[in-house]
């Protein structure tokens, strides 16, 4: 049995048996970790020192109620890395801080990990403890914190530091444009919804008596109709304005969208009602008009709210791009905004910093995390004269880099450009709906003309009422509500389950998905490196080797070192530690000299050549023999197997496309019964492969990294992990909020049910319209009956759509 399966089995048995999850971040606690924090007189288990530090900070501040009331687990804190002192330089802080009054500053900060209302409470309480801070305004929906403080601009650094100490990841924001735009959109929509809601209820109230009492006094009747007119006019021209505008735009461009028949029906019903009211004759349809506008606005409001919840492209760019670079100019190290970098500039990249532009290393030797760009999960070694890519993160030692490519030509920009291009040729399911409605509209107008001509020949006095009845009956209200209502309720259901839908046509596509493609690192796996397997060669057993390795790695801050620190249980201390960048670490434990690292480095000490060379393994030796080989891999998510099994049962084909080495991919594929797997795929190769699958049927792609962004954009349905990079989320149709893969099979089931209900709705609306038209055309349906039928069919469609919600609750 091989290494990967061993570790995966371990996880499976844990989640079935006694799985331990971190009290703070709710991630699985690796075996052997014994870290506790005292919260409310109880010892709660923690997964790492970072979580413990945050939990203790919260407890000491007396804010432990946060744990009681939060609805989402906290973000796992990153390794302490004080990058905030940069912002204490006034030149840099000024870019982000506005100081309209002397001695008073304000800034808006985008906060990663701000997930529920309890977080906002925690941040608010914690920041206000600082007497310099005047006001804190936290908005959970947009993950933004607006802080006002007394004092200098440079105090901004303290604010950012305070947020990061709480375990959040703050990002300074200078662009406010997009945020303002979504705020305005939401406010406008809300105002329209309110006006149409109040208007609709009022109109109903005044119009209902005219339906109930046929013997009503004519004056009273007309008085009520006049009131209906007064109330419906603002509803139509204010609340219904977006529809009027969009229809007008479509007509001007000589095309027809779904709003055109809607607006046509609205205007005809409204026009006929105004006409009748002013002439003191016949029926009015004000109630239908206002109710219809309200229902349409409501369904669009729901869709908009969900869309705003997901992250925007602007947020993504804020997060990836480093904003400030340390440049050598005239012998001095100066901080310069990245946009002002020049070719051949010498840039210093500190540990933990993101490489600002593509370049060559001229001094230093370090490991870099290029996972975002290449998908490679393990850090890569880079030495003098090797090239580095913009967007990779420097992990172990400072580097001096000579810039070779800036701005437009960097690898990062290349991926962004590829993404944009793929996004443009995305198939739009909307086209079909438009085509149908165009046909419908054409035949509707044709029928009306035929009816008018025939009645002109039969009985000219009845032309107006009959034509009006035909127009009202053929009004595609139910037809145009059929799809949006179902989409709105399915979107709400999925959001409740933890899958945020960001595009309206996603549900339709998801229902048809027959192939699901997964990325490996960060999607099927957690992305944390763990020791998967230990092979011992000497007389020491596994645990002893592990303890020695942990002691050696304790001084190193490196993702591979973390794989050991998390299993550290022994009390052994290493002395005389010497870290050799790119090779390994050497030190004494219990007066024996050991080396841990690459085969070549280890061989120098033990003088025993190693045959097997594997990039993902590191070796331990003393001065005489090689003691052990540690195979590293990243953890499978606890619900990966359950998700794949369920998908297989639903006969959805599963595929893994990964940038990783083939062994790791194959092991995971075998263990989880994944039908197909392809390793070592570049982003471009992934797109090509995906397009092949897409020839037969729609494909859903699940991914997390920047390198996945183009593939996500090319897929029929793209699903990004909630913990994934913001860019991947920005290009996705849906975001898996809690990284819970097991939601995916449910999501497909819900989408399929929604699709079924949508078909029922369309069918019902079509049957209603088709059967009512002949009756209206032959004069059997009076206009008021037609209006009642129109309202009834719309309500039926909305109630049917609500079944998606209800069934989910019962299951």
């Amino acid at each position: 049995m091989n290494a990967q399966i061993d570790s995966a089995d371990k996880i499976d048995s844990q989640s079935v048996g006694e799985a331990r999850f971190c009290f703070h971040c709710n991630e699985l606690i690796p075996v052997g970790i014994k870290i506790f924090a005292q919260i409310k007189q109880r010892n709660e288990a923690m997964c790492c020192e970072g979580c413990r530090a945050v939990a203790e900070l919260i407890t000491v501040a007396g804010l432990q109620d946060y744990y009681q009331y939060r609805s989402q687990p906290a973000l796992k804190p990153e390794q302490a890395n004080d990058e905030w002192s940069l912002y204490s330089q006034s030149g840099i802080a000024k870019q982000y801080v506005s100081s309209e009054y002397p001695d008073k500053c304000a800034a808006t900060i985008l906060v990663d990990g701000l997930r529920c209302a309890a977080c906002s409470w925690l941040i608010d309480r914690m920041l206000r403890r600082d007497s310099n801070i005047i006001n804190v305004d936290v908005n959970v929906a947009t993950a933004r914190v607006h802080v006002t403080w007394r004092g200098a601009v440079t105090y901004f650094a303290e604010v950012l530091r305070a947020l990061s100490r709480l375990g959040y990841r703050p990002h300074a924001l200078d662009a406010q444009g997009l945020q303002q735009y979504t705020d305005n959109e939401r406010r406008n929509m809300l105002k329209r919804l309110g006006v149409s809601g109040v208007g609709m209820m009022q109109v109903m109230m005044y119009v209902l008596p005219t339906y109930l009492h046929n013997d009503m006094d004519v004056t009273v009747r007309h008085y009520l109709q006049l009131v209906g007119l007064m109330l419906t006019t603002p509803v139509l021209f204010y609340a219904g304005w977006p529809f009027l505008e969009s229809a007008a735009r479509a007509v001007r461009l000589h095309s027809i969208n779904m709003d055109v028949p809607v607006v046509m029906a609205l205007l005809l019903a409204y026009g006929a009602s105004v006409f009748n009211t002013l002439l003191w004759q016949g029926e009015t349809y004000f109630d239908s008009v206002s109710m219809f506008i309200f229902l349409l606005t409501l369904s669009r409001f729901v869709v908009m709210t969900v869309r705003h919840h997901s992250h925007s492209v602007a947020d993504a760019l804020v997060r990836i791009q480093p904003r400030i670079a340390h440049v050598m100019r005239d012998g001095n190290l100066v901080d310069v905004p990245v946009s002002q970098l020049l070719n051949n500039d010498t840039v210093l990249v500190r540990v933990g910093d993101t490489v600002p532009a593509d370049g060559l290393i001229i001094d230093g030797c370090s490991t870099l995390n290029e996972q975002l760009l290449t998908g490679e999960s393990l850090p890569v070694m880079r030495k003098v004269n090797s090239s580095v890519m913009a967007g990779s993160i420097n992990l172990t030692a400072p580097l001096s880099i000579r810039i070779t490519e800036i701005g437009q030509r960097t690898v990062l920009s290349g991926i962004l450009a590829l993404l944009e291009q793929v996004q443009r040729d995305k198939p739009a399911a909307v086209l079909l709906a438009d085509k149908i409605s165009r046909r419908f509209l054409q035949s509707m107008l044709l029928i009306t003309v035929v009816v008018a001509l025939s009645w002109w020949w039969i009985d000219p006095s009845r032309i107006f009422t009959t034509v009006l009845a035909v127009l009202v009956v053929t009004c595609p209200c139910a037809l145009s509500l059929a799809a949006p209502a179902v989409i709105a309720s399915a979107t709400t259901t999925l959001a409740r389950r933890g899958l945020l839908i960001t595009h309206a046509d996603t549900i339709e596509q998801l229902a048809q998905v027959e192939t699901m493609v997964f990325d490996k690192t960060g999607t099927l796996t957690t992305g944390n490196i763990v020791v998967a397997h230990i092979t011992t060669y000497g007389q020491l057993n596994e645990d002893q080797c592990r303890d020695i390795a942990a002691a050696l790695e304790s001084a190193v801050s490196h993702p591979i070192a973390q794989a050991f620190s998390s299993v550290r249980s022994g009390t052994q201390r290493a002395s005389n530690l010497r870290v050799v960048p790119g090779a390994g670490v050497e030190g004494e434990v219990d007066n024996v000299l050991y080396r841990l690292g690459s085969p070549a480095f280890v061989n120098e000490l033990s003088n025993k050549p190693l045959n097997k060379v594997d990039n993902t393994a590191i070796w331990l030796s003393d001065q005489r023999v090689v003691l052990a080989c540690f195979e590293l891999s990243d953890d499978l998510r606890s619900d990966t197997k359950a998700c794949i099994d369920e998908l297989n049962r639903m006969q959805v084909r599963t595929v893994v496309l990964s940038g990783d080495a083939s062994v790791a991919v194959e092991q995971i594929a075998q263990h989880c019964n994944i039908a197909e797997h392809h390793a070592r795929q570049s982003p471009a190769a992934k797109v090509k492969m995906l397009k092949q699958y897409q020839v037969c049927s729609p494909v859903a792609m699940v991914g997390d990294g920047i390198n996945d962004a183009p593939v996500l954009a090319a897929a029929s349905v793209s699903i990004a992990m909630g913990a994934g990079t913001a860019l991947a989320q920005a290009s996705a149709d849906a975001i898996l909020m809690n990284n819970a893969l097991r939601v995916l099979p449910h999501a497909i089931a819900i989408a399929r049910r929604a699709q079924r209900i949508m078909k029922q709705n369309l069918c019902w609306a079509a049957i209603y319209n088709l059967s009512a038209v002949p009756l209206a055309a032959t004069g059997y349906i009076s206009p008021w009956l037609a209006a009642a039928g129109m309202s009834f069919s719309s309500i039926l469609v909305v109630l049917n759509a609500a079944r998606v919600l209800k069934r989910d609750r019962s299951s």
């Binding site: 009331y69 608010d124 908005n139 705020d183 105002k191 006006v195 109040v198 109330l231």
Partner: protein, 60 residues
């Protein structure tokens, strides 16, 4: 009839006032964040909250 003639315009005036108040509230940002304000009340009296939360915890 005369009563209706009087009462309906009165109710319309009330509707106009209600809608105006709603629009004002939206413009003033009252509806921008509906989740956070619910937690503001927890700020003033932390002691009562912790008593309450412990009793909730005991039930579990």
């Amino acid at each position: 009839m005369s009563m209706i003639a009087l009462l309906i315009p009165l109710s319309l005036i009330l509707v106009v006032i209600a809608v105006w108040a709603f629009l004002w509230a939206v413009n003033a940002g009252q509806f921008d964040d509906l989740d956070t304000p619910a937690w503001d009340m927890l700020s003033d009296d932390d002691s009562t909250l912790s008593v309450k939360s412990e009793s909730i915890q005991d039930k579990h």
